[in-house]
């Protein structure tokens, strides 16, 4: 019988403020993206407009990345037993550098400021190197993984993809602004950076997290063992081969492997929807429905990508971007935040021997439902704005309200936590 678990020191659990700072800053970038849409009706006419590049990075490096890093600070200790060394300093440095980097990069891309692009890239890379080094130490200190869960392995694979995404991003920034010589066309580098970011890093992280969070919070059966055993390594392997084919200019290989990546991403969405159909919940709650919508958005984005392979219209890649960034990731992340933040708040109160309020009081259902309704309208407006640009400012207003409301909801949970601590 064991009485101590050397890899799992309670004192190493990050304080609540470590992940919360990321969760509370992230919506500000969503609000900023909304204001950009509001200000520029032509923002969505092409993936290459300065405004589109700025909005993409506000979403991806500002909103998504911040939440993902904050969540990892908590998921690695809780789900993997990998405790960060000095979690608060790591959170402080990473949060400051990534936040400033995302803001600078988005400004640089939107306003055409080379110095801001370079500063943003360097700051982001600095924050990510800090985070990746701390993650590596945490994983090395973790007790060996047991059981059937593939989450620990797939989180590691996602971090590998984040490393490559970061390197590609920095090379791209210097090639674009300082003329760093690269042996490949810039659009090829952009495609590599984008696909490693959304499928390699974002997709693998979403999947690794879903293996735990979907059955846990949505009360579904577990993902099939064979599926979780194969999905992430296969996706990473095909992604690597696809990248090699792209660099070697092998058109047929790229088309075949690219189609296989679409099938793998679609397989994840269909598998998740199948599990959700078998939930033991009598009434699906709002985050459950938001997560389901995010999986439909993922399937929609894959259809748009497929259409972009056979049709030259500028709208298809833009639509795919809208459905991936806002529909899939913002939707799934919002649904997860509504489960993770109240649970973490409750857990920290309980571990501190403070009487914790009911989770429903920490973040009431009616607040969540209202915000998710706005998310759905914003997604619908963005979808239409891709084809009818005059609707872009309306979509922008809805995006501002969506992320503003998300921030207010998260602050509600923080206020309840503060009240309980000081009661």
């Amino acid at each position: 019988m064991s009485s101590a678990n050397p890899g799992l020191a309670y004192e190493d659990t990050p304080p609540l403020s470590a992940p919360l700072r990321f969760f509370l800053t992230a919506p500000l970038f969503g609000i900023a993206a909304g204001f950009l849409l509001l200000a520029d009706a032509d923002l969505l006419v092409s993936r290459w407009t300065p405004g589109a590049l700025a909005a993409v990075h506000l979403f991806a490096a500002g909103f998504m990345l911040q939440v993902m890093l904050g969540a990892l600070l908590q998921i690695l200790p809780v789900a993997v037993g990998a405790s960060f060394p000095a979690p608060l300093p790591v959170a402080t440095v990473t949060h400051a550098l990534v936040g400033a980097g995302a803001a600078s990069l988005a400004y640089g891309l939107g306003a055409g400021s080379p110095n801001a692009i370079i500063a943003g890239g360097v700051l982001l890379a600095g924050g990510l190197v800090t985070f990746l080094a701390a993650s590596l130490l945490a994983l090395l200190r973790a007790a060996p993984a047991h059981g059937a869960s593939r989450t620990p392995r797939d989180l590691r694979l996602a971090l590998v993809a984040l490393t490559l995404t970061t390197v590609l991003g920095v090379v791209l920034a210097f090639a674009l602004v300082r003329g760093l010589p690269v042996p490949f066309p810039l659009p090829t580098l952009v495609d590599l950076h984008a696909v490693w970011a959304w499928l390699g890093w974002g997709g693998l992280l979403l999947a690794a997290t879903s293996w735990v969070v979907v059955p846990m919070f949505q009360i579904t059966p577990a993902y099939p063992a064979r599926f979780t055993r194969l999905w992430a390594p296969l996706t990473l392997a095909v992604l690597s081969l696809w990248s090699a084919g792209l660099l070697a200019d092998l058109d047929l290989t790229v088309t075949v492997l690219g189609s296989l990546l679409l099938v793998l991403a679609g397989g994840f969405a269909f598998q998740t929807l199948r599990l959700q159909r078998n939930t033991r919940r009598s009434t699906p709650d709002a985050p459950f429905r938001a997560f389901r919508l995010s999986m439909f958005a993922l399937i929609g984005s894959l259809v748009a990508l497929l259409l972009s392979l056979f049709h030259d219209a500028q709208q298809w890649p833009v639509l795919a971007g809208v459905l991936v960034l806002h529909g899939t990731f913002a939707g799934a992340i919002t649904a997860m935040l509504y489960k993770i933040v109240p649970f973490l708040t409750w857990l920290h109160l309980t571990q501190a021997r403070v009487r914790a309020p009911n989770m429903k009081k920490l973040l009431p259902d009616n607040l969540i439902r209202g915000q998710i309704v706005v998310h759905k309208f914003a997604l619908g407006a963005l979808f239409l704005a891709v084809f009818v640009p005059v609707l872009t400012p309306l979509a922008g207003i809805l995006v501002v309200i969506e992320f503003g409301w998300l921030l207010l909801n998260l602050l509600h949970a923080v206020r309840e936590w503060h009240r309980a601590v000081h009661a």
């Binding site: 019988m1 101590a4 799992l8 020191a9 059981g147 846990m216 919070f217 009360i219 033991r280 309980t350």
Partner: protein, 72 residues
Amino acid sequence: MNPRTVDARGLEPPEPFERAMEAIMALQGGDSFTLLLDRMPHPLLRVLDRDGYLHDERFREDGCVEILISRP
């Protein structure tokens, strides 16, 4: 020795944690109980370590986690 089993599988967090803590709080010196969960509860193990409880956990064939928790 208390041979009781607390089955906290298939419940939404934090209910499994709450059920486990209720059973832990009710333990007298020398008592133990078996806890069944869908996954390894790292936060709960930290609390057990901190508060001086003994625990022995293993993965069962069906994938669930079985933890014998004792109060010394």
